[in-house]
Each structure stands twice: as C-alpha cells, then as structure tokens.
C-alpha cells in the first residue's frame, strides 16, 4: 500500500514535470503568451499611416486595425466556413446612424467614442480626416477619387456629432469607397499640434505614431523587424477584441516562417509559398484557409501598341500556347482558381473574374501564328516582378518553354520589385505577367482600370477600343441608376470583348492563404486581404 502511494506520487510528480517542462517561459510570460498573438510575415510596414507618402501594403494592415472608419462591412460565411466580408451589407463603425439621401449621405457619430488619448471623436475630426485623404495626393487621394470623392467641400459638418458627405455625381462606388481603408478617422487635435509649415497634414507624426480611435495602437515599431500593438480597451467600434497584444515579426526567409509555424512558435503567417500551404494543409497540424482574391487575377499581358502583339492572331496564338495546366500544377500546386478552358458552349455571366475559352493547343497556336505572318515565330522578352519570384518565375519559365515550341524565342527579364512599377508605367514591356486586383469588387471597377481607353496605368497593355469604352461606361451608368438588365448586358459585352480581343490573358484567380495554429480562430477575409486582428482569438 505504502509502496503504491509512493509510486503514485512519483507518477504525479513526473506528470507535473512533463507538463511544466516545455514551458520555458516564466509564469508571467506564459500568461502573456496566452493573450498575445505572434504573426510572422515577409515584410513589414514602412509607414503607420495610409495617408503617408508611399505607404506599403503592410502599412495598410496597421491602419486598418488602429483607425476606425464611419462604416465597414458585415461578414458572411462561405460554404467552406470562411468568414468573408459582405460586399453589399454595411455595418456602422464610428457612425451610429447612416442616412443615404439622393445626392448625399449623413452620418451621426457614436456619442461615447473616444480617441486613444481620451478625446471624444467629433464631426470636425471626421471632416479633417476626409479632407486630408482627398488632398494629400498619391494613393489615398486616388482611392478616394475612385468613389467620386475628390473635394473637401463634399464633407460638411452639421453639428459636433453629425457630418454629411455630398455626392458629385451618382456613383454606386461612393458608399463602398467610404468603407475602404483610406477614409479613416484621425485624431485631428493631436495631429494638428504636430503640424509644420512644410507638413500641413502632420504626416511626419502619423508616420511613426498611430493617432486613431481604433481597437489597437502601435506601441513599438522597429522598422523591418517588428511591430507591437496593444489593445485599446475603450474601443467603441465593435466588441472588445480578444487579443491584448499583437507581436508582428518580419521573417524574410519563407522556410523559416514555415518552420516557426510547424514548431508552434508562430501563431499566424499569411505569405507562405503555395507549396508550403498545400503540405501544411495535408499534414493537418494547422488551420489553413485559402480564399480567392476578390476581383483579382494573374495574367499574361501583351503590349498591343507595338508589333507583333498589335496583331490579334498573334495574341490568340499566345493564348493557345500558354501551358495553363502545367502552371496550375507546378507553379501554384493547385492552389488557385483556373480562369481558362471554359466549355465552348458556356454562357458569359455578368461577373468578374470568369474563365475564358482558350486552352493549351499548340497546333492551333502555330497555325494562328502562320496566318499572322510569323510562320517562323519571332523573338521577344518576357518580364516578371522579382518581388513575387516564387510564383512568377515558374510561370515564365514554363511559358518560355511552351512558346519556344511554336517558334517564339523569349528572354526572361526579372525586374526587382522597386523597379517593376516604373517599368509598368512606361508601358513598353512587350510580354509580361502581373497581378491586378481591385478593392471594390465590381466588374466595371476592374475594367475601368484595366481595359478602358483612358489608359490608366493598370491598362498595362495600352489597349484602346471605343466599343469597350462604351460598354464599360454603360455598365457604370446602369449601375448608378439600378438598371440591372442593361448592366448585365454591358458586363457580358465587355467580358466577351476582352476575351475576343485578348490583350491580356487571364491565367487564374490567386488565393490568399493563411496558416494558423489550431487554437486560433476568427480569421476574416477582407477585400484588402490583410489580417483583421479585432476578430482573432486564441485558445
């Protein structure tokens, strides 16, 4: 009996030891760990304010979580269980009430909402912030313009608690554009106290400090290595977030990021190579969520202004020579939604992105090339953005190999990420692969940037067609007055035309892949594709 007791107690001791042994953290640290989320990603923000000059995409994530907007989107649940933002349902964030009139919208603010320094949020702050967004220039001003929000006069303070936004024209993108990241509300009193003559909007201050009413604030930022965010306990924009602290570390090596996840050291990573995601998903130790980019495609573009790609038959030949399936298998490991090879009798739907009817058919490609007057093929260069080499390089190598079989000799040109945009802007690259995706998920929004004859920088092919412009403009006009029949007809029309003229060849719709530990819940897909910390929970 005695002996048994002894053994029992030993076992208990051993078990106790076994439990506590892996916890290398002292109790306080373990406690901290439970309420802390460790995120790893390749790169970090270069500016904490989306209104700043040249704020990069990771910077958007900070803005999203540290500032509030008047309105935001509701969530809906996809068939696979993923929480996905609902394009058509808005929810109030800083606003307590939204009243849409014929040519304006009026917001009442939540009365008890305060900034992180305790000052109440007023209509003056909202006006100052929106004025700032439409005035500072660069990306924020551009994005506001996409919803016909261009002038400070459009934002009218009615009283301390009420603000009205006037419409310049009827544009169905105006309200959605108030729910993107840019029209965030900034603590105007605080930032105004930091303003200088050279910097009338206080961008220098908000670059390094968050000054919002949002759920989190940045407490530490070591550029290029880590960002630490703490929860703002008095947040009024929604239910109090579960995570008290977010530690976001930059880990440049993808292999190391995967190792950190697999060993349980990191909680979330969302920019791993596709292959790693597939394997982690199959291994089943982590939660993997893959969601197609909203309104985004990877494509092969051709400059239609210069020979030989000014010739429709050449473009069609290329479209028949792309090794679509090989790209899906070897470059993407199946993690993408194919946008090719639709059945010959498929009907065009008024949606975007959708699949075209081209397939890999080298005989047909060769024949088209001969008809175009290039029976022997030609030489050209195929460019890609080195910043996304993991996917782009295999795509280009496979395409190069396939084109060689119909006589087209290509030299692959890898362009460093910093130079990529400059090169796109010049619109001289004959053949290239790229991704475009729009925050606002409407087909005409995509087309107006990528296919319209006003030749925005995203119309990288320099494609111009009066017929196309008419259809795009028609769809926009129909949408603003709610004429669904005309809208559908015009969208069908421009999608068909884009496939017939084929200045850019859609390859696939990329996926946003997020890998999390099993105990992490609350992931939400947003149009900006960055993480929303406010819904995440652990344990």
């Amino acid at each position: 009996m005695k002996r048994r007791d002894f053994l029992k107690s030993m076992t208990a001791l051993a078990a106790g030891g076994a439990v506590s042994a892996p916890a290398v953290f002292s109790p306080a640290r373990a406690q901290g760990r439970q309420e802390t989320l460790l995120i790893v990603s390749e790169s970090g923000p270069n500016n904490l304010d989306i209104h700043g000059i040249g704020t990069n995409v990771p910077g958007y994530e900070v803005s999203w979580n540290c500032y509030d907007r008047l309105i935001s989107h509701e969530m809906k649940t996809l068939p696979n269980g993923t929480q996905y933002y609902d394009r058509d349902k808005f929810k109030l964030e800083l606003a307590d009430d939204m009243n849409i009139g014929d040519m304006s919208v009026t917001f009442k603010l939540k009365k008890n909402a305060t900034f992180q320094d305790g000052k109440p949020v007023t209509a003056k702050d909202v006006k100052w912030s929106l004025d700032r967004a439409v005035t500072v220039g660069g990306f924020p001003t551009f994005q506001m313009g996409a919803g016909s929000l261009t002038k400070p006069e459009q934002f009218v303070v009615l009283d301390d608690n009420t603000i009205r936004v006037d419409f310049l024209t009827k544009d169905r993108l105006t309200i959605p554009d108030l729910a993107v990241i840019v029209p965030c509300v900034v603590n105007s009193e605080l930032v105004k106290s930091k303003v200088t003559d050279k910097d009338p909007w206080g961008l220098e201050y908000t670059k390094l400090n968050t000054a919002g009413s949002g759920a989190y604030r940045v407490t530490t930022w070591n550029a290029g290595s880590e960002v630490i965010l703490e929860r703002f306990d008095n947040w009024k924009g929604g239910p109090l977030p579960k995570m008290r602290r977010i530690i976001w570390r930059m880990v440049p090596s993808a292999g190391n990021r995967r190792a950190l996840l697999e060993r349980g050291d990191a909680d979330i990573s969302y920019d791993l190579p596709n292959k790693d995601f597939v394997e982690l998903r199959d291994a089943g130790k982590l939660n993997i969520v893959s969601t197609p980019y909203s309104n985004g495609i990877q494509y092969i573009g051709m400059n239609v202004k210069t020979p030989p790609f000014d010739n429709l038959k050449v473009r069609q030949a290329i479209a028949y020579a792309i090794p679509y399936q090989k790209i899906m298998d070897a470059a993407l490991f199946g993690l993408a939604k194919p946008l090719y090879g639709a059945p010959a009798d498929a009907k065009t739907e008024p949606v975007w992105p959708e699949a075209h009817k081209y397939n890999t058919d080298l005989a047909k490609a060769k024949q088209l090339l001969a008809e175009a007057g290039y029976p022997e093929g030609f030489e050209t260069t195929l460019s890609f953005d080195l910043g996304f080499a993991g996917v782009n390089e295999p795509i280009c190598v496979l395409t190069q190999e396939s084109l060689a079989q119909i006589g087209i000799k290509t030299t692959i040109n890898k362009i460093p990420g910093a130079t990529w945009r400059t090169e796109l802007n010049k619109k001289v690259m004959p053949l290239y692969t790229n991704v475009f995706s729009g925050w606002l998920d409407y087909p005409e929004y995509f087309f107006i940037w990528c296919y319209h004859g006003k030749n925005s920088i995203f119309n990288t092919m320099s494609y111009q067609s009066p017929e196309m412009d008419k259809l795009i403009d028609g769809a926009g006009a129909a949408a603003s007055v709610g004429d669904k029949a005309t809208y559908d007809k015009d969208v069908d029309g421009f999608v068909d035309l884009a496939f017939a003229d084929i200045p850019r060849i859609p390859l696939y719709q990329p996926y946003v892949n997020v890998a999390m530990q099993k105990n992490i819940s609350g992931y939400q897909y947003w149009f900006h594709r960055r993480l929303d910390y406010r819904a995440l929970a652990k344990g």
């Binding site: 953290f25 002292s26 640290r29 901290g32 760990r33 802390t36 460790l38 790893v40 270069n46 500016n47 700043g52 000059i53 040249g54 704020t55 990069n56 220039g137 660069g138 990306f139 001003t141 551009f142 994005q143 670059k207 390094l208 070591n222 550029a223 290029g224 290595s225 880590e226 530690i247 570390r249 930059m250 880990v251 440049p252 090596s253 292999g255 190391n256 190792a259 950190l260 697999e262 060993r263 050291d265 990191a266 460093p416 990420g417 910093a418 130079t419 945009r421 400059t422 802007n425 925005s456 920088i457 995203f458």
Partner: protein, 337 residues
C-alpha cells in the same frame, strides 16, 4: 605619435571622398524610380512627378550631390524611404547587432582556428597539418547562406536545439536597457541572466555560420606565424636549454606569433562586418547588412550611402587602431607615414 595619427587620418580622407562620390553615382544609377515606387500602385504620372519633386529627385545630379554633401557635413545621412526612419538612427540602432554577431563569430572562429593552426605548425606536413588545411578550406568554400540554412534546418527544425531564427531575442523577452547595444553585455549589466541566456542562444547559430567561414585566414595565419617563430633563434635557444615542448610552444612561440594574427583578426572583423549581409538575411538579424541590402533592392539611396560610408569609416578606424596596437605591442614596428 599624435601627429603620426593625424597624418594617417588625413591620408585616409581622399579614399573617403572617393567612397562618397562613387556611392552617390552608383545609387543614382540604380534602375528603380523611388518616386514611382513611393507614389503607390495607382499613381498617375503627375502624382509621380509631384513626389519626385518632394523628394528632390527632379534636380540635376550635381545639385543633388551638393545637397547630399551639405547634409552630410551636418551629420545628416538622410532618411530611409522604405523604413521611414533617419538613416543615422537606423545605423546607430543596428550597428551593435551586427557588431555583436560578428565579434562572437570571430571568437568562435578563433577558438577553433588558433589551436588548429598551432597544431598544424608543430607538425608541418603531417596528417594533422593536412586535415587542418582541408577543414579550414572547406569552411571557406561553403557559401555562407548555404551553411546558415543547413544549420537552421538541422538544429532548429529537425533537432529543436536552437531557438527560432527570429533575430536577437525570443519574442517574449524584451531587450535589456541599452548601455552598449550588445545584448550580452547589457543583460549582464542589468543582472538579468535569463535574458543573457536567451540572447546567447539566438547568437549561436549565426555566429557559428560566420565562424566557419572565417576559420581559414585565422588558422593559416596562426600556422604561418608559428612556423616562422618556431624556427627562430630564441625558440631554438629555449629548446636547447631543455624547456618542455609545451612551455616552448605556449609561452615562447605563441606569444610572439600572435602579433600578425592580431592584424589578421582586425581585417577579418572589418570584412565580416560588411559581408555578413547574407547571414543576417537567413537569420532575420536586424543588423546593418540586411538593412543595406534591402535598401539597395528598393533603390532606396540614403541607407545604402549611409551604410557604405559607415563601413568605410570603420575600416579606416580599424586600420588605425591596429597600427596603434601593433606599435604598442611590438616596439620594433614604428608608425611611419
């Protein structure tokens, strides 16, 4: 001595000017257009031009250079566009990280290479000698990024002995109060052994990677220097007077052979400090090397210029220091201009 030093410093100035000019021209020749990069994905041509003007990049090259030199004279190295911080501050914050790593790498290397070199020198032509040669040559034949990746794979991923390659400290530790910027020293000053151990753990793999790479020059120099000292008259005398071989090697020969090794160490340190960019990349080390590389890729001029200038000044200073040390240790060598 003082005037000698001054002369040496003055003699280094033309190279520093050369470095400033070459770096300036090189960075301007980079293909990227910072204006387009920072104007964001949707910028119009006008927006880009507007940002170009804000950044002062629309000025003629010579004017830009003039502005750069004036700023430099005020100790202003400019601002990094990618991280948004003043370059001087970034370098001040990051240099200790690189220096600590490099120094530890050097210590690891010395701990292996000096005994190897001595053993090789005592028996030239023997198996030990050849093994030493092969091992050290193999070390320097491995690309550092390859060594680093393999070490991470084996010791972190497979065995779990090393901590996650996440920079200088595990995420749940906070950095010790800054005194020297070296976490090992600062944590000791703060009497925080837990942080000391955590920092040391993070350092081991990257330091080993650097150490392996720098074995060869140190071992070879030790061997060469020992060989010549061992064949010198005073060692022969010591041997002839019947001193034990161990005493001869360690007390007599080794101390005398250390002088040239010290010179090598200084140079290896200076070289490694600039060259560990690849190691920093593999281990997510927040040093100046990785900072410079990222800036170069992003066509971010100021950090590249600041980094190169810092390294050049360090190089000159280190040379000077070694000269002085050498003069102090070995009175036969005098500083001559």
């Amino acid at each position: 001595m003082g005037s000698m030093l001054l002369k040496r410093v003055l003699a280094a100035i033309p190279s520093l000017i050369g470095v400033v000019i070459v770096t300036f021209l090189l960075t301007r020749a980079l293909p990227g257009d910072p204006a387009a990069y920072f104007a964001g994905p949707a910028a119009t041509k006008e927006a880009i031009e507007q940002i170009r003007a804000t950044l002062g990049l629309d000025q003629p090259l010579i004017i830009q250079f003039f502005h750069y030199v004036v700023d430099l004279a005020h100790g202003d190295l400019g601002k990094s566009l990618t991280t948004g911080q003043p370059v001087a501050e970034e370098i001040r914050a990051r240099l200790p990280a690189s220096a600590e790593l490099t120094l530890l790498g050097l210590i690891v290397s010395m701990a292996i290479a000096i005994p190897l070199g001595i053993m090789a020198a005592t028996k030239p032509g023997s198996i030990i000698d050849h093994t030493c040669r092969i091992v050290t040559t193999a070390g320097v034949s491995l690309p550092v990024f390859f060594t680093g990746l393999i070490l991470v794979y084996v010791f972190y991923y497979l065995l779990g002995w090393a901590p996650a390659p996440l920079g200088r400290l595990d995420v749940f530790y906070s950095a010790p109060p800054t005194v020297t910027g070296f976490y090992l020293i600062d944590s000791l000053i703060a009497r925080d052994p837990e942080t000391f151990v955590a920092a040391l753990k993070q350092l081991i793999l990257p330091a080993l990677t650097l150490g392996i790479f720098s074995l060869a020059p140190i071992a070879r120099m030790t061997r060469a220097s020992m060989l010549s000292v061992l064949s010198s008259d005073f060692v022969r005398t010591a041997r002839a007077s019947g001193l034990a071989p161990y005493t001869v090697i360690v007390t007599y020969a080794f101390r005398n052979a250390m002088l040239p090794v010290i010179t090598t160490l200084g140079m290896v340190f200076s070289f490694l400090l600039g060259a560990n960019v690849l190691v920093e990349k593999v281990f997510a080390w927040p040093g100046i090397g990785s900072f410079a590389v990222e800036a170069l890729i992003a066509s971010d001029f100021a950090p590249v210029q600041g980094f190169v200038l810092t390294m050049a000044i360090l190089y000159v200073a280190l040379n000077l220091l070694i000269d002085v040390l050498y003069g102090l240790i070995d009175p036969r060598v005098r500083l001559e201009a």
